[in-house]
Amino acid sequence: MSVRSGDGLGGRAAIAGIGATEFSKDSGRSELKLAVEAVRAALADAGLAPGDVDGMVTFTMDTSPEITVAQAAGIGELSFFSRVHYGGGAACATVQQAAMAVATGVAEVVVCYRAFNERSGRRFGSGVQRREPSAEGAALGWNLPFGLLTPASWVAMAAQRYLHVYGLTPEAFGHVAVAGRRYAARNPAAYFYGKPITLEEHAASRWIVEPLRLLDCCQETDGGQAIVVTSAERARDLRRPPALITAAAQGAGRAQEQMTSYYRDGLTGLPETGVVAGQLWRSSGLTPGEIDVGILYDHFTPFVLMQLEEFGFCGAGEAADFIAADGLPLNTHGGQLGEAYLHGMNGIAEGVRQIRGTSVNQVPGASRVLVTAGTGVPTSGLVLGTDEG
């Protein structure tokens, strides 16, 4: 059982290519077109042709099926295709799926992708008012008649408890926002390029759902991002230095819900992230102190704090101070707060750039990067490493 022991996946697969569209508020084209552009860009980055691809993985939430993207991108027969559920929690799991397929020989070159018009089309931030009477619909249904309708509100409920238990104020979340926007300000691909913020500006921004302010919430974005995974051996022969998948994990907690896990203990942590953390540390043999860069999923600032605590970078309730003291280079692309909300996939790309040494906010000598996926839902994570690392 890998919840309790390390696995045999580490180091057998690598990310060989990354590619994205521009990140915008109105792409002016279809989600399928964005997916195809991102896939072709990632293949070009890897130095591979569409004909090399035999596997594709995306999110269950994606509207562009693997077969349709393959068709439009010039990709032929597929021996592996898969989708991962739970919104942004799927991000790193797409790469885990690809790595498992590659490691077992089920596929040789797998492209993971996510593309949407999340700003100009269906905005997640606009909330949910109706669900079908499936088990999944019923689970969220407990919240709807009472008016708890938006992702921000689902996170805010835990955030309020976190502040209460640790005696903090909402300003604690500001450190996450300021750090993300500081990096975004230096990243030309970021929506908030050239626009850093201060703690005061965070504290003055309007309430969205107390205790969350506007600047605690990520952007909404149109765009696509793709990641090419192949075996470590093959990656070494391609045009980019491989980013080895040192460890990959999924995690769900006991009594897990999607965004509304209010019925289990605490509400001050992310037990599903704890499951991912345990497996990543066991499988990689690494400890938090050996991580050079953290790319932690930041749809809402409070869960960045809880992730740092679940991964053991600092003690419970201490993460705001940890960030304020620059305890770890974090979200060097600017995160989803600052660069773009690509459901976590742009964070994986930044992890790859750090390993390659090509980030606009490069951490000198970075050889081990932790990347996480959507929080508050069943989630996933990766440790990426240099070939020598």
């Binding site: 931030g125 606009s126 909330g127 949910v128 008012q129 109706r130 669900r131 079908e132 009477p133 499936s134 088990a135 619909g137 019923a138 689970a139 969220l140 249904g141 407990w142 919240n143 709807l144 008649p145 009472f146 008016g147 708890l148 309708l149 938006t150 509100s153 805010a156 409920m157 835990a158 309020q160 408890r161 209460h164 309007r206 309430w207 969205i208 759902v209 107390e210 205790p211 006991r254 009594a255 509304t260 209010y262 019925y263 509400l267």
Partner: protein, 479 residues
């Protein structure tokens, strides 16, 4: 269009300071019959209003000045022009939002009331939930006696009144689309399936049912067909006794949803039995909810009328057992600043709640007893044409109910000095309003023997009324 509205703004503002009514005379002297009708309508049994030497309920102040079915007399040309201007610009609907009355001396049968009123202000163009429009504030002086119209006689009270003249856009679409607006404003429905139908069946019987594992006895929420503790599929239910505490909460600001009125609080409640559920906290403002606050279960109809199977939605909600002591009450803009912050401990006492079923009869009787013949208070069809789902209570009836609530509590010896109220969610037929009061300044602390009470009336839609009442407590009443 912006330019046109700007110039309209300017033209409207010019009416500030002009007379609204000059030389008004009450159509009837203060009389026992109207007093009795009023008391019967609002259920006021205060003995001061009957017997040998009765006084009129102070909150009737405006009723003596009303034109009734035959219309107003003495309205100024300026006031009429203002309304023609607003009606002509499309701001045809009107709703009263604030009423502040000060009572200087009691009115008695036989008193002949005279009054003047001035247009105090016309606001800039405002957007509210009702639509876009203008607030118009008038202030009326009411006096009795004195032969002429030059201010002789006794000023018995003042009456500041704010109305909102608005363009009823929502109303027009509602008139065409039938139930569309109602549909849009309905609460999101519970998601009911075979696994959780038992919970909602319990709610229909006003019972909050918690699943209990048939093997290990563990209680669980939300409802699921098996136990997370032992995996057993056997279960029965226990009924929650209804006590809980706020485990966590949020205050929703953005984005807005048709069925909710932001900001509003939503909480995770931890029941005494140990399970948690998401629900609403009622009885306190959104800014008064706190973690650890004790709450008590009740069932609240949030949509539809009783027995309307398709429309009706009853939810288990939780009423705060007591207001948070560390939180200042949320003041509304219409109220004078109150020195409430020092009123803690014994001085800050709760007035026992008054539950007022909002019947159609109460709404109509209250409107007519206050001589308010606006059709939205008695004619459901006319109300719907103007965008309301039904008739709704007029502000003077609310004012009377608030007055009655306070005098009931302090006893027949007390005298109302001021009532200042602001209306929020309308009182529609079939709803229930619960008036709650908090004494923010006790009589013994004010020096002049008056107590100040903050009053909040909540109905199924939210806060119907917030206000402040100043009452002279004679001979050591209840406080």
């Amino acid at each position: 269009m912006g330019g046109a509205d700007c110039s309209l703004d300017e033209r409207l503002k010019a009416y500030a300071g002009r007379a609204a009514m000059a030389g008004g005379v009450g159509k009837d002297p203060v009389n026992a019959a109207m007093i009795r009708h009023w008391c019967e309508a609002v259920g006021d049994t205060n003995p001061a209003y009957t017997g040998e030497a009765p006084i009129a309920p102070p909150t009737m102040l405006q009723a003596w000045t009303m034109g009734g079915l035959s219309g107003h007399m003495g309205r100024s040309a300026a006031y009429d022009e203002l309304f023609v201007l607003l009606d002509g610009a499309g701001y045809t609907a009107v709703v009263a939002t604030d009423c502040e009355q000060e009572y200087l001396r009691a009115l008695r049968p036989g008193d002949e009331v005279r009054f003047d009123a001035v247009i105090e202000s016309v606001s800039a163009r405002k957007t509210t939930k009702l639509g876009v429009g203008y607030f118009v504030t008038t202030k009326m002086d009411v006096w009795v006696g004195g032969g002429g119209r030059d201010g002789e006689g006794d000023v018995v009270g003042t009456h500041r009144f704010r109305i909102f003249k608005y363009a009823p856009d929502g109303g027009r679409s509602a008139g065409k689309a039938g139930g569309a607006r109602k549909e849009a404003a309905r609460r999101p429905r519970p998601v009911v399936n075979r696994d959780n139908a038992g919970f909602w069946a319990g709610v229909a019987e006003k019972r909050l049912l918690i699943q209990r594992c048939g093997d290990c006895g563990r209680l669980r929420f939300p409802w699921l067909p098996g136990c997370n503790g032992c995996g057993s599929e056997k279960w029965d239910t226990v009924e929650a006794r209804g006590d809980g505490v706020v485990f966590s909460y949020v205050v929703m600001h953005h984005p807005p949803f048709p069925a909710f009125d932001p900001p509003y609080a939503v909480a995770v409640i931890e029941l005494a039995e140990g399970v948690r559920m998401v629900s609403d906290v009622v009885g306190v403002g959104h800014d008064e909810v706190r973690i650890g606050m004790p709450v008590r279960l009740e069932f609240q109809r949030v949509d539809g009328e009783e027995g309307e199977e398709e429309e009706e939605l009853v939810l288990p909600v939780f009423r705060a057992a007591e207001p948070a002591r560390d939180a200042e009450p949320a003041e509304t803009a219409s109220e004078p600043a109150e020195p409430t912050s020092e009123a803690t401990g014994p001085a800050r006492r709760e007035v026992p709640p008054l539950v007022v079923p909002i019947t159609r009869t109460l709404i109509v009787a209250g409107a007519l007893a206050s001589r308010d013949y606006q059709d939205v208070h008695h004619d459901a069809e006319a109300a719907r044409e103007k965008g309301a789902p039904d008739i709704f209570m007029n502000i003077l009836t609310t004012n009377g109910l608030v007055g009655r609530y306070i005098t009931d509590h302090f006893g027949p010896g007390c005298v109302l000095r001021k009532v200042a109220i602001r209306l929020g969610a309308p009182n529609y037929p079939g709803d229930t309003m619960v008036l709650r009061g908090t004494v923010t300044e006790a009589a013994e602390s004010t020096g002049d023997g008056t107590a100040v009470v903050r009053v909040v009336g909540e109905n199924g839609l939210g806060r119907h009324v917030t206000g402040t009442v100043t009452v002279a407590v004679v001979g050591g009443g209840a406080v």
